[in-house]
């Protein structure tokens, strides 16, 4: 019998296996419970693709979506509804990046003790970091043109504004064919990539500051065009003699083409990668589209143009805003989030840029505003910016305006891209101004 008793311990192995797997499951449950509960096929969370309970608010408490008596309603203001369509999501569930899916656990009020149980059936509250007023201002400033507006807090990483156009009123969705190509379901700040044009000169500038000795002491000359490898890099007009600061302020293609040739494609590629423009960035686990940088062959016309943001260059607006945030924040790019932060504890980010370089670029962007864009066009905002006019073939160019405001109360960095609108400063800058005025109000 004693032997049998010892051999019975074989069963103890099974017991140990069951206990170990129970512990493993409990640990996974504790870590992923909220995510699992928000699974779109979870009958306790969704009914026919619609969330069963909960409220989504903007950072000031304005309701963006609320389920009352089993019926989901969007914001009262139609412009806010349209502006926030892509960050909230539509009823049919075509917009997968919408908060109604992505933050379902929070919206339903998930907590580990009660799960999705809600005694009064109201669910939970998700307070987004976006500002409904800024959303509306962006939507109205875009005025029917397609494009993307992204504003982030460069200290906390909160997304203050994220607008994608075209959009529709989610309370009155249009009939769309299954093979619809209008792009109304695409969340552009997150999922689009655009030719950056001159806003990419900020990358070339950073590489020049760090790799070319005495670059600030150099004299540059622009005669309106420059011959490279059998082709020409052209400017709108001859900029004449200038220093590096002026080259950025005037957005001189010849100077930046020349810098690109001098730095070489490998160096530029390294900087584009390091600044996250060719990587996917995460916004609470949602990923941005991946940008692209292809340097042309050494000494080629393509290399010169790629340093000025043309050739095959592509960037994502949210990644661009993050890059500008690092310039504003002495080289630290904060981790991005759509959810309002209640405490400034535990801020996290990535140091992507030398602090001295960041501060130097910020100074030059400040100089660009004073010399070219005019501070009077941005009343009350301590703006540092760079415009871009990205040639996209036969259509009118995409208008870019990126930058940030030097304001401890409102540490906002932004990237605005208006598709096929024309000049960056004349078309995208007013949109940026409108959004920022609303955001600081």
């Amino acid at each position: 019998m004693r032997r049998i008793q010892k051999r019975a311990l074989a069963v103890a192995l099974l017991v140990a296996a069951v206990l170990a797997m129970t512990a493993l499951y409990a640990a996974r449950w504790a870590v992923h419970g909220g995510e699992w509960a928000g699974f779109p096929s979870n009958g306790d969370a969704f009914i026919a693709g619609r969330i069963r309970a909960g409220t989504v608010r903007d950072r000031d408490g304005e309701v963006l979506y609320a389920v009352r008596d089993g019926e989901g309603r969007y914001a009262q203001d139609e412009s806010v509804r349209r502006a926030s369509l892509h960050i909230i999501g539509d009823r049919a569930g075509f917009i997968g990046s919408g908060a109604l899916f992505h933050y379902a656990g929070t919206i339903l009020g998930y907590d580990p003790v009660n799960g999705l149980y809600s005694a009064d059936g109201t669910g939970g509250v998700l307070t987004l970091s976006v500002d409904a007023g800024a959303q509306r201002a962006a939507w109205e400033a875009l005025d029917g043109r397609n494009g993307a507006v992204a504003v982030i807090n460069y200290v906390t990483g909160e997304v203050v504004c994220s607008v994608s156009s075209p959009a529709f009123d989610p309370e009155d969705p249009p009939e769309t064919a299954p093979d619809d190509t209008s792009g109304i379901y695409m969340n552009r700040p997150l999922s689009a990539v655009y030719t950056p044009g001159s806003v990419f000169k900020l990358v070339t500038l950073a590489a020049a500051i760090e790799n070319i000795e005495d670059v600030f002491d150099r004299d540059f000359h622009c005669s309106g065009s420059m011959e490279v490898g059998g082709g020409r890099v052209t400017c709108t007009h001859a900029h004449g003699d200038m220093k590096l600061e002026d080259a950025l302020a005037l957005s001189c293609n010849c100077t930046f083409g020349q810098l690109a040739l001098e730095l070489g494609g490998e160096t530029l590629q390294k900087y584009a990668d390091q600044y996250g423009l060719t990587q996917r960035q995460s916004v609470d686990g949602l990923h941005t589209a991946v940008g692209r940088f292809d340097a042309g062959a050494e000494g080629s016309l393509n290399l010169a143009w790629s340093g000025a943001g043309q050739y095959h260059d592509l960037v994502n607006p949210m990644a661009m805003a993050r890059f500008v945030a690092a310039i504003a924040n002495s080289g630290d790019a904060p981790d991005l989030t759509m959810v309002k932060k209640t405490a400034l504890l535990g801020l996290s980010g990535e140091h992507i840029m030398n602090a001295a370089t960041a501060d130097k670029i910020a100074q030059i962007m400040d100089y660009a505003v004073r010399r070219t864009y005019g501070p009077e066009n941005f009343p009350g905002l301590a703006l540092r910016a760079k415009s871009g006019t990205a040639e996209v073939g036969t259509d009118k160019p995409n208008a870019w305006f990126v930058g940030f405001i030097q304001d401890p109360e409102h540490p906002y960095a932004f990237a605005v891209c208006v598709e096929n609108a024309g000049f960056g400063f004349s078309q995208a800058a007013p949109v940026a101004n409108a959004v920022l005025q609303a955001a600081v109000r």
Partner: protein, 592 residues
Amino acid sequence: MQICRSIAGKGAFATELMNNAAFFEAADTITAASRWILPALAVLILLRCAVSMLSGKPEREVWGWLSLPGGGKIALTNWENIVGRSRSADARLPHASVSRTHAALTRDRKGGWTVQDLRSKTGTKLRGKPLREPAAIHSGDTVAFGGAACVFTPSTVKEERDQARTRRRPGARIHPGATLILLTAFVLTLGAEHTAAAGEGVHPAVPAAFLALAVLMWACYAVTRGLHRTGFEVETLAFFLTAIGLGVCASSDPEGLWKQLACLLAGVALYFFIGSWLRDLERVKALRAPMAVIGLLLLVFNLFTAQSIFGAKNWIRIAGISFQPSELVKICFVFTGAATLDRLYRKRNLIAFVAFAAACVLCLGAMSDFGTAAVFFTAYIVIAFMRSGSFATVLLSLAGTGLGVFMVLTARPYVLSRFSAWGRAWQDPQGGGFQQTRTMAAAASGGLLGLGGGRGRLHLVFAADTDMAFGMAAEELGLIVAVAAVLALVLLAVFAVRSAGQARSTFYAIGACAAVTILLTQLMLNVFGSVDILPFTGVTFPWVSKGGSSMISVWGLLAFVKAADARQNASFAIALDRKKEKKREKAGGERP
């Protein structure tokens, strides 16, 4: 049928009792309260059972003595004792002329003793004569194990009676009745919650099933007490799991509760029948071979007549009732696999049992019921190891099976595709991870305390009440109760291991361990398959999953656990023989 109707009557009564609007209006309040009450009760019930089953050192019984020539005495603390030089012998004779495993001394239920030589090198002599066949040994007989001559003295009836009187009885510290009151509260709260949540159109089977369970529990308890037995933990745990299972069925298929209830009654009846049958070891031994034949016949019959339902071809449909014979074969398997000590050492090879086990697993494989085949295989490994004590046997079996599995996978790649989603359920939530992702999502929805009985929605997924029963329990009753259900089975297994050393025969020890192995393997495949820790197979969660055949079979297996419980007056499956002993005592006190 009669019973069903009488329960239906009770259900109607219960519905009437609750048939006022106030009760149904209070549904939300009932849920709000019961989602705290049920986990608390579950934890209390589990703790009380655990303490009652596992606390204190197991008390050894003394059934006789071997007096050594030097003056020492060795107690015989089992009905089956190995005498030998080995450290693991029950009666250890550290004498060079004694073999490591020398002889066996066994007691039968009437108090008669037998000695037999286990192929020792130096032989055994009884009353001076070399022992060839097992022979009866009486008080005062000299028995020589090699060069160690001993005098055998069995305990007297009086000693045995004193021992029975002074041994600790279960239930002295943790009263089983009090635990059962807690369980009754659990069952009735759950029933009320389900009834209220279903609203005024509630199916009468819902309140009836929970009431019937409460009545059945107390009836079983009354029978146990009537037999002067005080151990009721094993049954309490099974009824606890049954209650959770009724909840699963009430949510997914209220109508089906009638069948579930009928099978519960049949299962409990089978439990008492097998338990009583196991009392007499001679009867049991005689039944081993017929059980093996019945098991094989059932499987073969199954193989040729069965219909394929839900993928596996293991269902038989007779007169409108579908049935899974493989469930009952589990009981035959345990019966055939367990063996008494003398057999263990007389017939050292396992060839007959290996052939039987292989036939069972092959039949199940041919039916494409790989989950059940895995359950049988694990039980086979445990039985083979307990019988032979040889790791080589186990490793050889594992290697052979590994080869077989490899051949099946190469020949039939579609089997492999069933496992392709394993560990990656969230990457394919609408394909291979369909059931697992829904189980995990529903289990998360429940949190620790649950959404409330009858308020989950996982039951809308196909076969959730069997394959995803853990998810349904976690969704409606919360993680605490769901894990308590897992731990209840773990507790049964630990108890079986602990009982193994005290069991009256190795047959009971092996039987109990094999039974809990089957229960535990099913639990493991069901629960951890549904949450993507193991591959998803379609076996049932004992007592919790909906299913009639399964309900009957698990109660039958439980009888083996009960038969190994040798605590004083604990188990009805162990005879007390009080009347006979008294008679014998009057006749002279000393046994013949």
